[in-house]
Point group: C2
Chain length 333, copies 2
């Protein structure tokens, strides 16, 4: 029986082994991904992202606990840490996280240190997610640290993306909000017991209003409700709600879980679920194509030829574009 | 006279036009980069990076002012903002930044919103830097927002990389420090008038000691001095100093400029300057190769064929790896 078959029959050791093989990008890992692919596409993928200091990890832990204990779902967490491109910090992370959930086979947490390029990281994450999906985990939380491109990659991978903010993270935060708002399906202000929470909420609301000008957005019963402006048609599109949480105390977690469920319902009704799946798989296909093209190029151009050309660039005898032409000339044309 | 020739003769309008063409990746921009490439390689490239809330932008402004006014250098700033992958925020940024420096042709500030992939962003930044370099700007500051992969890309582009921290940015900060320390040539604790600065310094020092265990690192006369451990040989390698600044007040800026100059001296003496140049140009060449390979692939595979294959992946009839083989089969082999 192949590892993939063992995985499908519920073997936990096969799961652990396959995760490692996928993370190390071994031929066995690739073969297993291919074998398991028809069994994927069932899980709800939830991205959780936000700047350092927002308390993402606590929030992810609490959400995992909630989904497991209150809703009896099988929950996997993939914690991606691109803040550490050189040194791995995964082992300690695993230990800290596992404390509340250890011994429960319905929860599996995998931390991975970022390796290689960002594209490579996204691809590896996609692979881990597929393994969990095939293994029957119906809810997969994908946590990323960092502000910027990493968030966009998460958004491509997830069905539902949570963007976490926290009060008082400084003057650059406003700028970031504007950018990541466009990938947020749900906005969470964590550490909502801290001073400055009202300012953070206000700032998020004004950015939301800029992004969705035809609507009035206001707070109601502690949740955000959306009302169409008087003369405007009611659009069916999703407006990101803003929620307050205090993850360390478990406050706001079940409300957040409700919003996540509501978003999943919206995705299925509107047809966006399928659209996101397709776009996600398209990104994955593109990344694989790019990687394969580069690998084939490397197999065809000798190391010494490449170094010779790079030397010429270094000596300013050849501009980079000219070097590319020289390296590729007559090769693929 | 070509735009490139006009640029070399000091025409400022040509500079502005070429920056735009490079940012938009036009054929004219590419041709100009090739024409100008032999005139590059003179500037000192200084990367400035750090998490949101550290006050990077103020620090960059102050450094630019210092280099210009105290040292009469020609200074360019390229502010890369990957926090805003969808919406551009460059215009406002430009206006805020230009206030202190407007009217001085020896300073040029260019903000760019992140576009497309991170690799594409790094390539565009490299292009803008080459234009400034050829135009005779001898000091080029490259500012990036965000924690993670963006820093690594900056490190590849710059000769000297400053990593900015600030007190009290929350619990994830420690994790980030460990990762970005390895790209830092100089560590700056900005907002050093804030509470918690001693904790931040202490944390940075302990991470430094972990990274450079053969040395004792201690604070002396307000600056960091490095002393070889008793039984150990004195290595010639650079140990990142830690500096305190309050950028909004201009405090610590001239000390920081001194350390930057000292690092440039170290790079030239040790031969690391050339090594960094070569590695930087290697990264640029790789990015161009990757892009060209993908473009050629796209030219050879029809859109409808690609969509057919993606459909099969979406229907789970074909795994992504199988799809790649199908798309590339018989094409480049």
């Amino acid at each position: 029986m192949s590892l993939a078959e063992q995985l499908l029959s519920g073997n936990r050791l096969a799961l652990t082994r396959l995760l490692t093989q996928v993370e190390n990008d071994t031929p066995e890992g690739r073969a297993a991904l291919t074998e398991l692919f028809p069994h994927t596409g069932k899980a709800h993928l939830i991205g959780v992202t936000g700047a350092p200091g927002t308390g993402k990890s606590s929030l992810v832990n609490r959400l995992a606990l909630h989904f497991r204990r209150q809703e009896e779902r099988r929950v996997a967490v993939v914690a991606v840490d691109p803040s550490s491109p050189f040194t791995g910090g995964a082992v300690l992370g695993d230990r800290v996280r596992m404390r509340d959930l250890s011994g429960d086979t319905g929860v599996f947490i995998r931390s991975m240190a970022s390796r290689g390029s960002l594209g490579g990281l996204a691809r590896t994450t996609a692979g881990l997610v597929q393994i969990f999906d095939a293994a029957g985990f119906d809810t997969i939380l994908i946590e990323t640290v960092g502000a910027g491109q990493a968030e966009v990659e998460v958004a491509r991978l997830a069905h539902t993306t949570l963007v976490i903010e926290a009060p008082g993270l400084g003057d650059d935060v406003q700028a970031i909000k504007a950018g990541i708002l466009e990938i947020a399906d749900i906005l969470v202000v964590n550490k909502a017991d801290r001073p400055g929470v009202e300012n953070t909420l206000k700032a998020l609301k004004s950015v939301l209003e800029l992004a969705h000008p035809v609507r009035h957005v206001f707070q109601h019963h502690g949740k955000l409700e959306v009302v169409a402006a008087a003369e405007e048609p009611v659009y069916s599109s999703w407006i990101p709600p803003i929620l307050k949480t205090v993850a360390t105390e478990g406050e706001g977690i079940s409300e957040l879980a409700d919003e996540i469920a509501r978003h999943a319902g919206y995705l299925r009704e509107s047809g966006d679920w399928a659209a996101r799946e397709r776009s996600r798989l398209g990104s994955e296909l593109d990344a694989l194509l790019r990687e394969t093209l580069v690998r084939r190029f490397r197999e065809q151009v000798s190391k010494s030829r490449y170094e010779d050309v790079l030397d010429k660039v270094f000596q300013r005898e050849l501009a980079p574009w000219e070097a590319v032409k020289m390296l590729l000339n007559g090769r693929f044309e």
